[in-house]
């Protein structure tokens, strides 16, 4: 039995707070943690499938053109080689997140350097890799593919354009104005587990073990790519070694493995090499941004402008949503926002770790620091002064808004000095020491979701959904949520995820997983409670369940009388989306040191204070924030995709040369959770967490670099060469 709930209005009842088990929010360790650290949790390439052949993708060595011919015969005679596949149904780009389709892309048409064009299948991985490198391919190259986003005309994304009042006039007449340009480099998701799939056919039934974030969409995408019915496909993705956006859509390995397994008549495994993960999955677009801020004498914004130029391949729909939080974070009645996309031939740009705010907020919050300095106002005070009463563009109320609390609590916990600020106030040995801060904001997303909850006759429970746990803690929070609702120790709740044989979840992405699937589990549990209430003659709202018993002393096991009790909860976001602007908010504070000789920057300490609705597990929530702050350090200081200017190929395509922060770059981080209930965010009053921790943090570091050494830098990442170039003598 399915119970459908569409949320059309805020829910202030906070039912979860009235439950008696007392496990929700507790800092429980991850239920799958032991399996992961002991290596017994199988990742997609590790399923023990017998008679599995190995496939390796062949990728293009031109930027744009046609594959004229592939010399298959020479390779087919190599030891162990079973097949060379260039089926037109193979995909050349990963599907975008929530695409729900995978239209034919023609591997014979090359649109970026490193694009998959064929798959070689052999008995062993080594044979397949060698044969793939030997495959002779003849191309017809289309020269002069545009590669430089600034050398082509951008396409305006009209949905993003906002023009209110007269920004030019506001800038001209403002007491304080800032007009600055920022750049950010491209980023890679840099998940540890490479994309990998094992495909296995049984008649016309296909099973694929794959590393994917959103099975609910991926199954339709794969069905579309293969021209199959969804009911003949099963996707399994129980453990995912990091997604960060790169596994939202069905990737090239999944489709290729399915086609190859059919052709060779046995299971086929396709694992992307580290270089291929970098070269042919997803990149975050580089950006060029212009920020214009106009403020009155008191520092209150009267004008706000944010233009951004991003890039993608021709025909791709995704445009890095740089302005996402700029639309509502600060007031200013004169507004001018615009997003443009340059069409260039680098690999697909798509969702990478907090698309939009991860790069938009560092620019906006850097510009706010410039304004604070010009206006002679404490940066925290400047933010507090500019928090709007309602969405400044839509006029909508905020569902909840914890920016002010986060700024105040964060400043207090960090020990922020609100006195006058000037650079180069402290030098310790060779190091300039300084502090900086920034706001955090990330739109709240939520999605349709279904989950089945079964209260077993023995008094335990099972939660089933095809939702994934990409390392975030989904297994654990769902056990806590069901335990709280049904009066069970979470250890009594088995959570089964990552398998399309279960009801459709929302997928993991856009930080929407916990609130969306949590709501579906909540709805299912509520329906079970209603049934139990009926049996006990108690209204569901009055029903108290704890440790497998009702308050009346009745034991759940005897109440079930040997039968399981199962309900599906189906959550659908309702019209409430149109009535509120919903976002997570927060504040970052950083202390850095900059070497006065070498321009090296090291983060001494960093603190983030965040408000994102109900906290479902303090440990996994905090871990999400720690991860986000760590990525903030990467955006600020180290991460940059570098493309060859002549053919657009990505040059630094491994984890030695693409610099994510290492342990030594990450000091002790402090997280302050500003707990709240957001009645309009979801039926469980929770919002997204994962991405918020990297939405603005880079600016806290950039602003601290300025405060430390006087180098005002407008280009991320702030590597030593850039710091030295901007550092006054």
């Amino acid at each position: 039995m399915t119970v459908h709930f569409k949320q059309d209005k805020p829910d202030d009842s906070n039912r979860l707070d009235g439950m008696k088990q007392g496990v929700l929010g507790k800092p429980l360790p991850r239920v799958e943690g032991m399996a992961k650290v002991t290596g017994t949790a199988p990742y997609s390439a590790e399923y023990p499938i017998t008679d599995c052949a190995e496939g390796v993708l062949v990728t293009s060595t031109i930027t744009r053109g046609k594959v004229l011919s592939i010399d298959k015969d020479a390779v087919l005679s190599m030891p162990g080689v079973l097949a060379v596949i260039d089926d037109p149904a193979m995909t050349t780009r990963a599907a975008q997140g929530t695409a729900d389709e995978a239209p034919q892309q023609e591997p014979g048409t090359v649109c970026y350097w490193g694009q998959p064009i064929a798959l070689v299948v052999a008995e062993t991985f080594e044979q397949a890799r060698d044969a793939a490198k030997h495959l002779g391919v003849e191309y017809r190259e289309d020269p002069d593919a545009p590669l430089d986003p600034q050398a082509v005309d951008g396409e305006e994304q009209e949905d993003e354009t906002v023009r209110q009042g007269d920004l030019e006039h506001a800038m001209a007449t403002a007491a304080h104005s800032v007009d600055v340009a920022y750049t950010t480099k491209g980023h890679a998701s840099a998940a540890m587990e490479p994309h990998a799939s094992i495909a296995q056919w049984d008649g016309d039934k296909l099973t694929v073990y794959a590393s994917l974030q959103m099975l609910n969409y991926n199954i339709s995408e794969l069905a579309d790519a293969l021209g199959m019915e969804e009911e003949n496909i099963r996707l399994v993705s129980r453990f995912v070694g990091g997604g960060f956006g790169s596994k939202l859509g069905v990737s090239e390995d999944v489709v290729a493995a399915a086609i190859a397994a059919k052709e060779v008549g046995r299971p086929v495994r396709v694992v992307l090499s580290r270089q291929q993960v970098f070269q042919c999955v997803m990149r975050r677009s580089e950006t060029k941004q212009r920020l214009r801020l106009a403020a009155d004498e008191s520092g209150k914004l009267i004008g706000f402008g944010h233009h951004a130029l991003v890039s993608n391949l021709p025909g791709e729909t995704f445009a890095e949503p740089v302005l996402q939080s700029s639309h509502f974070l600060y007031g200013g009645e004169n507004r001018d926002l615009m997003l443009e996309v340059a069409r260039i031939h680098r690999m697909t740009a798509g969702s990478v770790r907090a698309p939009g705010e991860a790069v938009g907020m560092p620019a906006l919050e850097g510009a706010m620091d410039v304004l604070a300095e010009k206006a002679g106002i404490d940066p925290v005070e400047l933010r507090l002064k500019n928090i709007p009463e309602e969405d400044p563009e839509e006029g909508l109320p905020f569902s909840s808004h914890k920016l002010a609390e986060c700024l105040k609590q964060g400043a207090e916990a960090f020990g922020w000095d609100s006195g006058p600020r000037s650079p180069r106030h402290t030098c310790e040995g060779e190091w300039w020491v300084g502090t900086g801060m920034a706001s955090a904001a990330r739109v709240h997303n939520i999605a349709e979701a279904t989950a089945r909850v079964t209260l077993k006759a023995d008094g335990s429970a099972v939660v089933e959904t095809d939702m994934t746990d990409i390392g975030t803690g989904t297994y654990t929070i769902l056990a806590q949520l069901a335990g709280e609702m049904l009066g069970l120790d979470p250890a009594q709740v088995l959570v089964e995820l990552g398998d399309t044989k279960h009801p459709r979840g929302p997928g993991s992405g856009g930080s929407w997983g916990a609130a969306s699937i949590g709501s579906a589990v909540y709805i299912a549990c509520k329906a079970i409670r209603e049934e139990l209430g009926q049996r006990l003659g108690v209204d569901e709202a009055e029903l108290e369940l704890k440790d497998g018993k009702a308050a009346s002393g009745e034991n759940l096991v005897s109440l079930l009388d040997g039968n399981d009790l199962s309900r599906e909860g189906h959550y659908e976001p309702g019209d409430i989306k149109d009535d509120f602007t919903a976002s997570g908010f927060g504040a970052f504070f950083a202390q850095v040191r900059v070497n006065r000789f070498t321009g090296e920057t090291r983060v001494d300490r960093m603190l983030g204070a965040f408000g994102f609705g109900r906290v479902l597990n303090h440990k996994t929530a905090r871990s999400q924030c720690l991860g986000g702050i760590t990525w903030s350090i990467g955006v600020a200081l180290t991460e940059a995709l570098e493309f060859d200017p002549r053919d657009g190929h990505l040059v630094n395509c491994d984890l030695a040369e693409y610099h994510v922060p290492v342990h030594r770059d990450v000091p002790d981080l402090e997280v302050v959770l500003v707990e709240e209930r957001d009645p309009a965010a979801s039926p469980i009053q929770a919002k997204g967490i994962g991405e918020l921790g990297m939405c603005g943090g880079a600016a806290a570091i950039a602003n601290a670099i300025y405060n430390a050494c006087g180098a005002r830098i407008f280009d991320y990442p702030m590597t030593p060469d850039r710091v030295l170039a901007a550092m006054p003598d």
Partner: protein, 328 residues
């Protein structure tokens, strides 16, 4: 990866025999070689495993120096009590490189022979004169942030990426090499690596069939020993610029100034003129600048790596200042 055969050498003679022909390569830790084989940058038909031919120890020499076996791991060397007390610049340089796991596997000989991290060298679908003579240099006019500013040629602007050898160059260590005919020859580390010139594929003076057996350090010289590595993140990144320095100051004047530089050239860079300019002078900003002038006299950037020239100057300045302060 191309199919290859694997053979274990039992003795030095064995190893010499096995690596005599052009298609065979010796493997010790394999931390660099295996990566390059996966990328098909290296395509040996035979791997001769030399891990069991001896040459692993670290021993005192008759003249009070230290002999570090070719097969001693980087970790063993960095934690050796005599290295730590008498040659701290070496311990510091090793610990500034790679990661603990890699240092546990990497060996002295292998580290000396590690190959460049140039993006165009490691991508076989791009031109590289080092990997494929005559194909051109992808890095010139390409992405060259990591690349050399000293001793480049129009054929190659790659850097030698290591740290250990930079310290060995400052220490004026000798490389002990077994030749195929059973002799031993010694080459100063300072002369071991080559500049690219017209033969960028030739990275060091090892001839086919020759094997490094040890690196010998001279008797300890004391002084303030510094290894300063500037990099984009604080660990697991190659040097933008590094400086190994052994400095002594007596009566307010430099009495020793042995310096070597990493990240600037196809080899650890050593310029005896810098020592000559410093020794006998009183430390001052002016004399530090003069040393940098000598170092960078012929430096040439390729756009993206232009910053290395002022960075090298500043880093040298910092090191000399640190040493001066330590002596005070």
């Amino acid at each position: 990866m191309r199919p290859f055969s694997y053979t274990r050498a039992r003795t030095l003679d064995d190893a010499a025999q096995l690596t005599h022909d052009d298609t065979a390569v010796a493997i010790a830790g394999g931390t660099n070689l295996l990566d390059l084989m996966k990328l098909q940058v290296e395509t040996p038909e035979t791997l001769a495993d030399i891990n069991r031919i001896g040459f692993g120890g670290i021993e005192d020499t008759d003249d009070g120096g230290l002999s570090i076996g070719a097969l001693a791991s980087n970790t063993e060397t960095a934690v050796h009590p005599r290295v730590r007390s008498d040659y701290p610049v070496l311990a510091r340089a090793i610990l500034a490189g790679a990661t603990q796991q890699l240092r546990n596997k990497a060996t002295t000989g292998g580290n000396l022979c590690q190959r460049t991290r140039c993006f165009y060298f490691t991508n076989i679908d791009q031109p590289c004169n080092k990997r494929e003579p005559g194909s051109g240099c992808g890095a010139i006019d390409g992405i060259a942030k990591l690349h050399a500013v000293l001793g480049t040629s129009d054929q190659c602007i790659a850097t030698y990426p290591g740290d250990m050898a930079v310290a060995l160059s400052a220490l004026d260590a000798q490389v002990e090499i077994a030749t195929p005919n059973g002799d031993t020859r010694r080459v100063p580390v300072r002369d071991f690596h080559c500049l690219p010139g017209d033969t960028p594929w030739r990275e060091n003076v090892l001839e086919k069939g020759e094997l490094i057996t040890a690196v010998t350090l001279p008797a300890p010289v004391g002084g303030t020993q510094i290894y300063r590595k500037v990099r984009e993140r604080s660990s697991y990144a190659f040097a933008l610029v590094s400086v190994a320095a052994i400095i002594e100051i007596e009566d307010g004047k430099f009495t020793r100034a042995d310096l070597a530089f990493g990240g600037l050239a196809h080899k650890p860079w050593h310029d005896p003129r810098i020592t000559d300019a410093l020794v006998g002078t009183v430390p001052s900003d002016e004399i530090f600048d003069k040393a940098a002038d000598i170092l960078l006299e012929d430096a040439r950037g390729f756009g993206e790596n232009d910053f290395k020239i002022p960075l090298a100057r500043r880093t040298l300045h910092a090191v000399l200042q640190n040493a001066t302060e330590a002596a005070a």
